[in-house]
């Protein structure tokens, strides 16, 4: 037994520690175990050497040991990485807020990088005054702060025909939940003065896809925001810097990024993203359009295929997320036996309108295989349906709005797989 000393002479404390380890080893005869873990019994470099100075990282980054926590794409989903999507690593997160750098990206013409000094927001069409605002102008209107989830209508869209992707990042990761700071859209529209015939709003982006969506005036005047901050800091470029539209509870495609124009009209525009795309083809060949609202949904984020149970049997924490485009989530049910018995999960953290909710269910795992599901109830009384219930109404070709109950099968080793059950 030897102890390395970095100082000039052995300290009393280090001497005692060495003596203790030696005697403990002698007593038990199992030197390694009895001696204890080296991270405790030996002085580690970070215990002794100086760390980084304050400005080593002027904009803070996660620990190097968290490098695996990142957005990831599924290459075969789209033709190229510019008009594409990646996914939030839900299984690595807790609480309800998504860190800005991990919020999933979906763009149709790539991330535009716009100098805020060069950005303008125009309001035109059926208004008393067609106006142009600079970013400085926008900052002079009264602001509000709200936490909202943004879910792509295609989230879980690959799972209509059956279990396909192994990981909640891929099955449910087209969602993020952040606090927005912005001006009420209503305030800006009132500044321009909407004419009585103005029943619809066209929101348009400044990126090379010129993204447009038609929004009914009732929603525009209700709770939409023109936001420039997320989680307190400027929007990230991939989230529409310098300014984006926030359409609470409604499908993410409508939350136009790099927002440059709002046109007031008397009828919808029926543009590409509300006809060719983001319409829900049913089994009979007919298609629903303007399926704006996001139905209540939940998913168990841990354990899940990318986050297996590594500790074997004993005390186990199950956790997940639930949300609804119609309100709050007062209740989440969880089953660990494939739906024979359900338990009410514990919701922890703020319960906010049209925001993610975090739930937990702690149980004593007996080490046998499990079938895990969660079921969200929203404040309107809506109960998250099974995938088969949805298929009965919609068939399997509607791509969008798949809010069916997700199942993870856990085997005796603790590995998780995306499955469907009877």
């Amino acid at each position: 037994m030897s102890i390395m000393f970095k100082g000039k002479k052995p300290s009393r404390r280090a001497f005692l520690k060495g003596a203790l380890a030696t005697s403990a080893g002698a007593l038990s005869g199992g030197a390694a175990l009895a001696a204890g873990e080296k991270v405790i019994t030996e002085v580690q470099p970070w215990n002794s050497e100086l760390g980084d100075g304050v400005d080593a990282m002027p904009y803070g980054q996660p620990s190097e040991f968290e490098a695996h926590v990142k957005r990831r794409t599924v290459e075969w989903l789209t033709a190229d990485p510019v008009s594409s999507i990646n996914f939030t690593p839900l299984h690595e997160l807790d609480g309800i807020l998504t860190p800005n750098g991990l919020a999933f990206e979906r763009h149709h013409g790539g991330t535009a990088h716009i100098d805020p000094k060069e950005h303008r927001l125009m309001i035109n069409g059926l208004v008393e005054r067609q106006l142009v605002f600079t970013m400085d102008d926008l900052m002079r209107f009264p602001r509000e702060n709200h936490v909202y989830f943004l879910e792509c209508a295609a989230n879980s869209g690959m799972e209509w025909r059956g279990a396909q992707l192994n990981g909640c990042q891929f099955t449910h990761g087209m969602i993020h939940n952040v606090m927005y700071t912005g001006v009420k859209l209503r305030t800006l529209l009132e500044e321009a003065g909407v004419k009585p015939s103005g029943k619809w709003l066209l929101a348009e982006g400044a990126d090379s896809s010129g993204m447009t969506r038609s929004i009914p005036m009732e929603k525009a005047l209700d709770d939409c925001l023109v936001a420039f901050k997320m989680n307190g800091e400027a929007l990230r470029p991939e989230q529409g810097y310098p300014v984006r539209l926030v359409v609470p509870g409604w499908e993410g495609n409508m939350w136009v990024k790099w927002l440059r124009r709002l046109e007031v009209g008397d009828q919808p525009w029926h543009h590409r993203e509300e006809t060719s795309k983001y319409t829900d083809l049913l089994e009979n060949g007919q298609a629903r359009r303007f399926t704006w609202e996001m139905d209540a949904k939940s998913v168990i984020t841990n354990p899940s295929p990318q986050a297996p149970l590594t500790h074997k049997k004993g005390p186990t924490v199950l956790t997940g997320l639930a949300w609804s485009g119609r309100g709050t989530i007062p209740r989440v049910d969880v089953t660990i036996d494939g739906g024979i018995t359900w338990h009410k999960a514990r919701i922890s953290g703020p319960s906010l309108d049209k925001s993610m909710h975090r739930f937990y269910f702690e149980f004593d795992w007996d080490g046998k295989p499990l079938l895990l599901q969660s079921r969200a109830h929203d404040s309107t009384g809506y109960v998250q349906p099974t995938k088969d219930q949805l298929r009965k109404h919609r068939g399997v070709n509607s791509i969008y709005h798949n809010n069916g109950i997700q199942t993870w099968a856990i085997d005796a080793e603790g590995n998780a797989e995306n499955v469907e059950i009877s």
Binding site: A79, V132, F170, G265, R272, T291, I340, R375, Q384, E420
Partner: protein
């Protein structure tokens, strides 16, 4: 201020609303040229169409030069780029082919989308006549117009796409909600459970490097 003067001021503000300020008086009035530059959207009723015209023949050449590298010479789609033609009658098939001809409800959407977003990577570089020509060619490719057709702002509204009537307003609230608000079973809900579908069999999760068809774009 006298009542008369107040009434006069209100009357003059109403008469020239463009000059009246909003509650905060922030921003400035957009110029006519600015609105014209950005207001490029087109609606099914033809509102927003610029003056212009183009033939199927002109469109074919423009399509080959500007569009075919992704969409294919006949709109069949290269790799996973969008398929633009074909798919007629496929919407009830196991694998529907949703194209301009088989799925899109309005021709105006095509004009608007080309005008604002195409060609991919060189958006808003085409002239109005070129957009009319490419739109005409795509309509021809989808058997909507004849080979000698010339599309213009004047005849645009005569173009109808066959699938228009198959779109209807979201009816989830009426069709689904009743079933999805029932108090669910909490115990002894079923006698046994079996796994019916498994992701490992499909094997397309990125780590596995699977390659399958399908597109969300």
């Amino acid at each position: 201020m006298s009542k008369f003067l107040k009434a006069f001021l209100v009357a003059s503000m109403l008469a020239s609303p463009a000059l009246a300020a909003g509650k905060y008086g922030l921003g400035r009035v957009a110029t006519a040229d600015e609105v014209k530059a950005w207001d490029i959207d087109v609606r099914p009723d033809g509102v927003g169409l610029p003056k212009g015209k183009g033939t199927v023949e002109e469109g074919e050449e423009l399509f080959v030069d500007n569009c075919a590298s992704c969409h294919g010479d006949f709109g069949e789609g290269v790799d996973r780029w969008p398929v633009l033609s074909g798919g007629h009658g496929s919407l009830t098939d196991e694998r529907p082919v949703k194209t301009i001809g088989s799925y899109w409800p309005y021709a105006s959407t095509l004009f608007d989308y080309i005008r604002r977003a195409m060609p991919f990577g060189a958006a808003q570089t085409l002239e109005a006549d070129e957009i009319y020509a490419i739109t005409a060619y795509l309509l021809n490719m989808n058997d909507v117009v004849d080979d000698d057709f010339e599309l213009s702002d004047e005849n645009f509204k005569t173009i109808k796409l066959e699938n228009e009537a198959n779109f209807f307003m979201d009816d989830r609230a009426e069709k689904e909600l009743k079933e999805f608000v029932e108090e669910p079973c909490m115990s002894a809900c079923k006698a046994k459970v079996e796994i019916t579908k498994r992701a490992v069999i499909v094997d397309v999760t990125p780590e596995e490097g699977g390659e399958v068809g399908g597109s969300l774009d």
